[in-house]
């Protein structure tokens, strides 16, 4: 192994634990003020506001998806963005890899306060890579990542239901290149995201749903 890789690994060993530390209250942005600033900035720069608004606009499902009352983006939007951020990571797509699956599921279950399951998608051609913990508007969120061979990745995003989000059956949303199937079951929202065609994603979502509700 090259010394540069050793150095990188050592840096990750030392500082990656910071990623999963609870975020101190002073850094948890006060959402209303934040959005207020954003609106003000957007109004000030009207031309840019259009540019800003575009990526957040729901194509294909205008305003039909659940919208959290506090102003946080709806479940499929959050899931798709988390997918975009982490699915492209080459070296660190997950915090805990699938070789420690039991530990991973126990850890995420503990942090979310519910009993989670990492569905097996081997039959669909996807292997579990691992998972990570993310911050969400209603508390921690779990993200499981799957990979098909050396190629496409899928993420399963599990978040507690936001205020104002009602139960939903399967719904489909498209955020840029990312397709999302999502549903809200009890107090939990689930979203399966991937840059993958709708039919395939639908089939896999059904499998996920069945495994979570045997």
């Amino acid at each position: 192994m090259k010394p540069d890789d050793d150095l990188g690994r050592l840096l990750h060993d030392r500082f990656d634990p910071v990623l999963v530390e609870p975020i101190p209250a002073r850094l948890q942005m006060r959402r209303p003020a934040w959005i207020g600033h954003a609106r003000a900035a957007a109004v000030l720069a009207a031309g840019i506001a259009i540019g800003l608004a575009l990526p957040f606009t729901w194509r294909g499902a205008p305003q039909t998806g659940p919208v959290a009352s506090a102003g946080a983006p709806a479940l499929p939007v959050r899931a798709a963005r988390a997918h975009v951020v982490y699915a492209v990571e080459v070296r660190h797509p997950v915090e805990v890899d699938a070789s420690q699956q039991e530990h991973l599921v126990a850890w995420l279950s503990k942090r979310l306060g519910t009993k989670l399951k990492a569905p097996a998608l081997t039959a669909e051609g996807f292997e579990l890579l691992g998972g990570r913990l993310l911050p969400g508007p209603e508390g921690p969120v779990a993200q499981f990542m799957y990979q098909e061979g050396a190629g496409r990745r899928l993420t399963l995003y599990v978040s507690s239901r936001a205020k104002g989000e009602g139960q939903t059956a399967f719904r489909f949303a498209q955020e840029g290149a990312v397709s999302v199937f999502y549903w809200i079951d009890g107090n939990w929202g689930y979203a399966l995201s991937g840059e993958i065609d709708r039919a395939t994603l639908s089939r896999i979502s059904t499998s996920v749903y069945r495994q979570l509700n045997p």
Binding site: D4, G8, L11, D13, R14, L19, M29, P73, P135
Partner: protein, 163 residues
């Protein structure tokens, strides 16, 4: 500005800041100032690489903090950490921390953006506002200095990083 979009990067900003300035509170001060500045300057962001933009905001805040001496120019990593699992690890980490503290702030920024944040040279160049050549030369100097420091420990016998 979209809350959720920025929130996903807070863990990254914190990890990087911790490695950059060492002290936990000083690091979170840096993150907090960065987030506040990002809100004020958000109209300057063009939809694109939000992470690189946030790091460029943090760089500017960091430089200002250095100028006003709110943080010392060399990092002091003195906190306790959990997770030491193998015997060689603690000494490696201590060497790493001392070595990081020996680097200039500029070298530390480049090294951490590349080796810890996995940013490309181009992203680092944009975040720091310096040419790619400068990024590469700072990086190689930083790596060399750090490696020399870590190799130079007389009591060390095994330099291999134990996972």
């Amino acid at each position: 500005m979209d809350y959720e979009q920025v929130v996903v990067y807070i863990p990254n900003l914190r990890r990087y800041a911790r490695a950059l300035v060492g002290d936990r509170h000083a690091a979170d001060d840096l993150v907090q100032d960065t987030l506040e500045r990002a809100v004020r300057k958000f109209h300057l962001w063009r939809p694109g690489d939000l992470r690189a933009w946030l790091f460029s905001v943090m760089h500017n805040v960091f430089v200002n903090q250095l100028k006003s001496r709110r943080i010392p120019p060399s990092a002091e990593l003195d906190e306790n950490f959990a997770g030491a699992t193998t015997p060689g690890w603690v000494t490696d980490v201590r060497d790493l921390e001392r070595g990081l503290a020996l680097l200039s702030a500029e070298q530390r920024e480049v090294l951490l953006m590349v080796s810890l944040e996995d940013m490309t040279y181009e992203q680092v160049s944009r975040a720091l506002g310096v040419p790619m050549g400068t990024v590469m030369s700072r990086l190689s100097r930083a790596r060399e200095k750090l490696r020399r420091h870590m190799d130079g420990e007389p009591e060390r016998t095994d330099l291999k990083v134990v996972k």
